[in-house]
Assembly symmetry: C2
Homo-oligomer: 360 residues x 2
């Protein structure tokens, strides 16, 4: 529990060994750190690049305890790590980002209340715990709405849209009759995200906002630059406030809607490295992965400046077959995740096309 930087050669623990854990492990190695990954699958994507995989469930007290015992600091690659075991671990070992950020990000109602509470605009929303509340909330919002489970939603799963004049009958049950949130659908021009980092000493650095296109609820493409300098500054300022308020350490992803009137609404926050920040690996001197490792290791943050404009696209499912053709294109950086099986909807890799730097 110190602000001293980790000695090079120290071990960093990562909960989760998917592609994000893999890219974190790679960045940690480049800075001379060892990594241990906790994952139920000994052949997880991170296994290739991590020093060792501790095989265990994300919420395994034994696994987390071993991870804490054998490393100097513990971080995680996804926001659905169970809070209680992490809180226990944090009593004896630095855990970054802080467990409070997990709590906020795991529950859409807590998240929205947190954001609104510090003066950050979101879509209008209502907590919904039964079909009657849903019917009432839908009338109350008076627009098309989106019903989402409060917990464990990602990549568009656990969501249902309800047209303004439609009945809400059956919608609550269709998501499993679990605590939910109803959000008013905001007419928005586009979605952007800011990837920002806060160091142990409170320094905040943000990368330029990316414009994101989704398909079937999964990120397809991120484009940088995305906005006017003024809107970029506004979005980066919002990310800064979130980081400060959470006493955050590490990289965060903040997703925004740009409303038709130009107003920024925060859609959600992800207390981790983020798919819409993969472009930083190609277009910045210090990637989001290295930035996260620097932050949790107590090192100075790198600059968020980009040296090139760029477009990043995910390779999902059998799109990975495009890899050889992409390698034949100049100015493309390709990253594959080492996954053997290209199942539909599975993120297999991504690529970033570098473009000359504009000043926009």
């Amino acid at each position: 529990m110190t602000h001293e930087p980790l000695a090079f050669g120290s071990a960093i623990g990562i909960v989760g060994g998917g592609q994000l854990g893999r890219m974190l492990a790679s960045a940690a190695a480049r800075l001379g750190f060892r990594t241990l990954v906790l994952d139920p699958d000994p052949a997880c994507p991170a296994a290739q690049l991590a020093g060792e995989v501790i095989v265990g469930a994300y919420d395994s007290r034994e696994g987390l305890a071993e991870l804490g015992r054998r490393t100097a600091v513990v971080t995680y690659e996804f926001e659905n790590v169970p809070v209680e075991p992490m809180r226990s671990l944090a009593r004896t070992r630095d855990v970054f980002p802080p467990v409070e950020a997990l709590e906020v990000a795991q529950d859409r109602v807590v998240e929205k209340a947190f954001l609104n509470g510090i003066g950050i605009a979101t879509a209008p929303w209502r907590a919904v715990d039964d079909p009657a509340e849903l019917a009432h909330a839908h009338l109350d919002l008076g627009t098309d709405t989106i019903l989402k489970t409060r917990r464990l939603g990602y990549d568009g799963k656990g969501q249902a849209t309800i047209a303004r004049d439609a009945s809400t009958d059956g919608a609550f049950e269709s998501l499993g009759a679990v605590p939910a949130i109803l959000e008013g659908r905001v007419p928005f021009e586009r979605e952007i995200s800011v990837i920002a980092a806060r160091s142990r000493s409170g320094e905040v650095v943000a990368f330029d906002p990316a414009e994101n296109r989704h398909g079937a609820g999964i990120l397809r493409r991120s484009t940088v630059p995305a906005t006017s300098p003024a809107l970029a500054a506004e979005a980066m300022g919002i990310a800064d406030r979130i980081l400060e308020q959470l006493g955050y350490v590490g990289v965060i992803g903040v997703e925004f809607f740009v409303a038709a009137n130009g107003r920024l609404l925060v859609n959600e926050i992800a207390p981790r490295v983020h798919n819409s920040g993969h472009w930083t690996e190609a277009a910045c001197c210090v990637s989001q992965f290295e930035q996260h490792i620097r932050a949790v290791a107590g090192l100075p943050l790198g600059s968020g400046a980009r040296h090139s404009d760029c477009v990043m696209e995910n390779l999902i499912g059998d799109e990975v077959e495009r890899a050889p053709a992409l390698l034949a294109e100049p100015d493309v950086m390709l990253t594959l995740y080492g996954k053997a099986e290209a199942r539909p909807g599975r993120k297999m890799g991504h690529w970033t096309r570098l473009l000359p730097l504009s000043r926009a």
Copy 2:
């Protein structure tokens, strides 16, 4: 023995697990390949990032045979891999760069004869096998000279300079009385290098030349760009001829003297990724490490274009203590090799400062 690209997920064997093997393993992983490294030290720098270390001497027939059996293609990180075991291995397994390149690069006399034989200028030289030949050759060259062992020299080891009017007495013995080469000392303005690659299908791509400064025989700094476009094109053309002549596959480092009259003389070739190409990791979309992996895997080569100018410096011995301060500087990319002990003269890492792209 095919020109088909390796399937993603295949294993690549690397002889040697130092920092070059480490950075090759990292690049291979980013393209979805697994790596096996042959090294006598199970805790070698590459161990952290390779799939597995086969513990064995570089010339161990058992080790090389296992490496070949368990991988789809074998490459190496340094040019002093013994030729005969590699030639045996190459009968049953693709070995890139080709063994012929090893033979040329391992013996300074063979190397110079090869270069001169294809019309490429070098410093004047004489093969020297005993003290009498040395005395005669020194008189014959009529300048300051440098006596070098024919084999196993690197980073300035195995060399002795002899002033024009000095006696050669004892010099041959001082290097161990082994077969040697005497080179005329060329008044040169500066040293440059070209890192180039040739694919299995014969495509050649070169990175821009770097200007290199050495200290105590070890590379200290590489600066890009280094030369006029015309001189760059000439140097890249020479690298191209060498690659073609050797039927080369992979990345090569070609070191040049730029003589006072502007003439290019090849100093030596290194059939591997090269310290003076580490800047490509920071300033190019595709690094020399990825370029080498692409070449040996039968994939298309990346562009050699840089997106930024840059200066790369090595961190040698206790210079590694500068790492935290370097991380605090913007536009610096730092790479550490994960070596525990900072012995004098030991390469511990390197860093590259990005600068705005000039067109020079």
